[in-house]
Structures are given as C-alpha cells and as structure tokens.
C-alpha cells in the first residue's frame, strides 16, 4: 500500500491548469498546516492561563471544534493531487500504460461520484445550521462561546467541491493518457514502486539537519 507519488509538469495547457489548481490547493493545505500550529499555541495559552493566573482560555473546546474541520478537509484536494491518499497498489502497481490509465480512470470516476454526492449531502448539513434571518445567520452554535457552527460546516462542501474539480481534471488526464498510450503523462500522480517511494521518504526525513549531525 502506498501513498505518495510524483507529478510531472511541462508547458502544455493541461499542465498549466493543473498548476493553477495546485496553487489554490497548496494554499488551502498550508492554511490547514497553520491550523495545526494554532492547536499547539491554543493549548499553551489555555494550560498556561489555567496554571499561572488561574484563568483558562474560555471556550478552548469550542476553538478546537472550529479548527479541526480546517485541518481535516482543506488539504483533501492537494493530497489527492500528490497521490497522498493511501491505497493498496499491489495490483495497479503491476499495470503499465493503457491498462493502468484505464484502471485509474475507473477508480477516479467512482471517487468523483462519491464526492459530488457528498458535496450535496454536506451542503444540506450546512443548511441546517444556517439561517438568513437568525442572528449571525446561525441556527446552531458552539456550547461555551456561541460561535456559529455554519462556517465550519460550510468548509466541508467547499473543500469537497475543490477535490471534485481536481477529480474531473484527473479524469480528463487519464482519458488523454489512455488515448495516447504514453507512459509518463503530465499533471497526474504516477505510481511509484515501494523502493522509489521509500527512497523518497528517507530523503524527506533525513534532510540537511541529520547529515550535519552525522558528519
């Protein structure tokens, strides 16, 4: 089972759309990274406040409830672009060329079906919390601080819409690759062997810092 893979780029129009979309996706993913960072800071403030001035951060739990959806959903499309959602590749890892692109097309198509339906379903979930006429448009708010819940719920269909665009673009890419039969199409995550993936993993975690320590 593998996660990561590499995406080739060139100056074709297909690749340029891919890279434009990637900019948005990467920005969303970075926001999600900052949300993780804020979890850390919030805890320090909360614990510090409680133990030094006996004043815990009010609504700490409410904040976590708001921050978690940012972490859980915003990066979903970027992770798909990079091929980071895990799968079992013992079978697809053996396919090459047209057969591989056909298999990818089918699985991505099913993913798209799911995500389109979930955009609808999660939007309905958002609508139940949202009300034009209520204060802060909110039907439903957090327990301690009364923060409206609808913005966090809206994040879900928004993130899911972005991954739908990504999936449509990947479907077009796989269809093109199937037609041309090329081996290394641009703009698509290329499956890697366990060894390639491992080498990359090792590279990413043992960067300059470790080298410096060893030498």
């Amino acid at each position: 089972m593998a996660g990561s893979s590499s995406v080739l780029e060139d100056d074709s129009s297909y690749s340029s759309v891919d890279r434009t979309l990637e900019k948005l996706e990467k920005f969303m993913c970075l926001l999600s990274g900052f949300a993780i960072f804020s979890l850390m800071i919030l805890a320090v403030v909360s614990v510090g406040g409680r133990n030094t001035i006996d004043q815990p951060l009010p609504g700490y739990v409410d904040f976590i409830e708001q921050v978690l959806p940012i972490i859980a959903f915003l990066g979903i499309s970027y992770t798909q672009r990079e091929g980071g959602h895990i799968r079992m590749d013992i079978l697809v890892g053996r396919l090459k060329g047209r057969m591989l692109w056909l298999a990818e097309f089918i699985t991505v198509f099913f993913m798209l079906v799911l995500m389109v339906l979930l955009v609808w379903g999660s939007f309905e979930h958002f609508l139940r919390a949202f009300n034009w006429d209520a204060p802060l448009w909110s039907n439903d708010s957090s327990v301690d601080l009364n923060i409206p819940l609808w913005p966090a719920k809206l994040l879900v269909p928004v993130s899911f819409s972005v991954i739908c665009i990504r999936l449509v673009w990947q479907l077009i890419g796989y269809a093109r690759a199937f037609k041309s039969g090329e081996l290394n199409p641009v703009g698509l995550p290329l499956p890697k062997s366990a060894a390639e993936q491992a080498a990359e993993e090792a590279q990413s975690v043992s960067g300059a810092e470790v080298d410096k320590e060893i030498n």
Partner: protein, 468 residues
C-alpha cells in the same frame, strides 16, 4: 433482500474496490453510501419512483458524517502527534539518543545493535511514525555498526525492526485512531502502549545479546566510557523525556489530584516543546512551512479515511452486519483463545498487503464487536468474561495486540515498508538482505505477542495502576 445480505454484498464490493487500487477512504465512503441507498430503497420494495427518495435520504445521512464525526475533541491529538514527529528531525534529537544509548549499553555483547534498539525506542517517543524512525537511524546507526564489523544484513535488520517500536510507545497516532473507532478512552490506550513498547525493546535487546554470545565474530562490545562520559550524554536527550512526561502527566497527575489537563492539551504542549527546541537549533521558516504542509497532508489523509470508514460504519449499523458477525463468532465451538489467535493471524496475513491504518480502520468496525462479544460483551465483568478481563480492559488489550500485529508486518515480505526504507537509504544493501537481517526480530515479535496474549497484565498494568 435482507439488510444483512446487502451488508455482505456491499462489503465484498468494497473489498473489490480496494484491491483494484481505489483510494481506501473513498472506497469505504462510496460503499457506505451505496449501501445506504440500497437499504433505504429495498424498504420501499425497489419502487422506481422511490429511488430518488432513497438517494436523497442516504446522501443526507452520509453528508453529515464528515463534519459531525471529525469535530471530536480527541481527534486533535492526531495532527499534533504528527507535527511532533516532523519537528523532531529539526530538533536534532536522534544523534543525541544514539550517543547516549551507546555510552550506557554499548558494553553489552552486541552493544551497538542493542544501543540502536534503545535509541529507536527513545526516538519513537517523539515520533509516531515507524517508517520515518527507520529512515533516520539507517543513516546514523548502520555506518557505526559496519565500522566495528557487524554483518551488514543484520545491521540493516536491526534498524528496520527498531523502527516498529514507534507505534506503541506514546505518542502513537495509530492508538489514538483505534481509541476513536472503538470509542474507548484515549488516555488509557496511550498509557497501555508504554509497557508493551518497552517490553518489545527489551526482548529485541535480549535477542541481540544472545545472538552475540552464540554467533562468532558477531560484533564487539564498545566500551571505555567513564561514568562522566555517560552522564554528559544524558542532557541532550532530556527533551524527549520531557515530551513523554508532559503527555503522561496530562493523562495522570503524578503528584495526586486531577491530571493537569486533557491528553489533547498534553499532545499540543509536547509539540510546542519540540517546536521551541527546533527553533533554538536554527530551524528556518522554509523548513517549518514544509513540516506544516507535510503534517497537514498526513493529517488530512488520516481524517479522510476516518470519515470515509465512518460512513461505511453508519451503513453497517443499518445492515446489522457487526452483530451478525459477532453472533457467528460466538457460536463457534472453538475456545475463545483459539478464535482470538486466528483473528490475529488473519491480521498478520492482511498486513502483508495493506498499510496498518487502512487495515485497522477497514476491519475494526466488524472485528472489534466480535472480539468484545467473544469476551462476553462490552459491559462484562472480569469474573464472567472469557479472557478474564472486563469489557473496557479487553478493548485496550485487543487494541495493543492488533497494533503490534500491524507493526510486525512492517518487517515481513513482500511489502514490509521499513525494510524498503532501509534499503532505500543504503544503496549497498538489497531489500532481500534487510528482510533476512530482520527475520530474527520477527521471531522476537511473535514471542512478544504470545507474551502479551498470555499475560494481559503487561498491557493493563499502567492503566490499572495510574487510572484505577
């Protein structure tokens, strides 16, 4: 068609999608959604005009799962634990650990290999990721072992196996995931992982000492360190001790009274400590940004599987499949222990082809209720149970067992990822060599699991002692 038959058919469909290489999270979500549509539609007798109704109800049911299930407070532990791991590399803790371990236990037969095991165990305390632990130590420990004459296959095997210790010693992301899926207390599970993790490290160490005594030219002890040398090697490792202590004291207060906070706060505070050290060691903005993006990617991957599987679980509830499976398991005439061992063996086989998180999330919704039923139910008392454990204790014990099982698969062919990683770092060592070098540890792990099955007290000692 009965709901239970729909449940079985859809589950088989899910299996086919996963084998065909569909991303696990989405395959589970789709199986759940299709299953819900099917069950609702079947209730209306497959009336064509009712299909849209079934589709709408199913989609609305599935659509609320991602947001509502993700906002569980305990889930915030996962991103913080992942962040700790990424920042730990920049905090330069690995070399310090290896150096300290070498000075303290290097004099044992096979001393450098034993040091490697203890250093990986220590690093596991700040890194929840087995694969990363192996990658880092392949660069630090293997060259030193080769220098004093260890067999390169064995040196590589030690590092690959040592990496597997990461998943039990807190902070462990995989134990948090288990706790959430089976709805058990996260703090108890994290505490429970500590002794089995340490126990595994001791078994590994003991195995190396025995091999060094039996096999000729195995690798010399490294001695000559004074007590002063040993003592000065300790302070650089304190951050790791500190992180572990913080996380534990947020589960259990060593000074009596209430704990200092929740495990979620402990995890976040631990991340903050490692972050400060990394900043002191000169981490650049670019490296921090990279660490944040990588943590976000890994977190979203895990969260996506969680909500995907939970949509599937919602459907399983309607289909009543877990209950039916549990009834079947308890109706078997074999002893509960034999059945449990069979389940663990099935995990060993499955783990050869699937990654640990995907495997556990996909199987636990069905397997966990069955194991609980085997023991006598969720709320059974220790006296009436099959394994002599109360329901809650059995949940913890089984969690540690399956996670250890999943880890074991990181060093078994054909896709034991840790071995691939070590071979990826060391171009002079082939994957086959690493698998061969790691094989003694496979035996050690089998013994460890047998020990944990026979003596659940090893798993439950700390939670019982500290949390009652």
């Amino acid at each position: 068609m009965e709901p239970i038959e729909i449940g079985i058919l859809v589950s088989c469909g899910l299996l086919v999608m996963v084998v065909l290489g569909m991303r696990v999270a989405f395959a589970a979500g789709l199986a759940g959604l299709i299953g819900l549509i099917w069950i609702f539609w079947s209730k209306k007798g497959y009336d064509p005009s009712a299909f849209i109704w079934a589709l709408t109800v199913a989609t609305k049911t599935a659509g609320q799962v991602p947001h509502s299930k993700i906002t569980t407070n305990a889930l915030s532990l996962i991103p913080t634990f992942i962040l700790i791991g990424y920042l730990a590399y920049h905090a330069g803790l690995t070399k310090a650990l290896f150096e300290a371990a070498k000075r303290w236990v290097g004099w044992l037969p096979g001393g450098l290999a034993v040091s490697t095991v203890f250093a990986t165990a220590g690093f596991a305390a700040v890194s929840g990721a087995s694969v990363a632990t192996s990658a880092v130590f392949a660069r630090i420990a293997i060259p030193e072992m080769l220098k004093v004459g260890y067999d390169k296959r064995f040196a590589a095997g030690v590092v690959a196996a040592g990496g597997t210790l990461a998943s039990l010693i807190p902070p462990s992301a995989i134990l948090v995931i288990y706790a959430i899926i089976v709805e058990q207390d996260v703090g108890r599970l994290l505490l429970a992982g500590f002794l089995p993790g340490a126990f595994s490290a001791v078994i590994y160490g003991g195995l190396i000492v025995v091999m060094a005594l039996v096999i000729r030219n195995f690798g010399p002890p490294v001695g000559g360190y004074s007590w002063k040398d040993r003592l000065v090697s300790l302070p650089p490792t304190f951050p790791i001790v500190f992180v572990v202590l913080i996380i534990i004291s947020f589960i259990y207060n060593p000074f009596g009274g209430d704990s200092w906070g929740t495990p979620t706060e402990g995890g976040a505070l631990g991340a903050f400590v490692v972050f400060c050290i990394a900043m002191i060691k000169g981490m650049k903005w670019g490296q921090l940004k990279e660490a944040l993006i990588e943590s976000a990617k890994l977190s979203v991957m895990i969260f996506t599987i969680i909500w995907g599987v939970l949509i599937y679980v919602r459907f399983l509830g309607f289909a009543d499949l877990p209950n039916a499976f549990a009834d079947w398991i308890t109706s078997l005439t074999f002893s509960p222990l034999v059945i449990l061992i069979c389940i663990l063996l099935a995990y060993a086989i499955l783990g050869m082809f699937m990654d640990a998180i995907g495997m556990l999330l996909l199987t636990l919704p069905v397997v966990y209720p069955a194991v609980m039923a085997l023991n006598g139910g969720e709320s059974v008392s220790a006296a009436d149970s099959a394994f002599g454990l109360s329901g809650a204790e059995c949940a913890i014990w089984f969690g540690i067992l399956v996670v250890k099982m999943a880890e074991l698969c990181l060093i078994t062919p054909p896709i034991g990822l840790n071995c691939f990683v070590v071979a990826g770092v060391r171009e002079d060592i082939s994957v086959q060599d690493v698998f061969r070098g790691a094989s003694p540890f496979f035996v050690a792990d089998a013994l460890t699991i047998a020990g944990l099955v026979a003596f659940p007290g090893i798993v439950l000692f700390l939670p019982r002692l500290l949390l009652g």
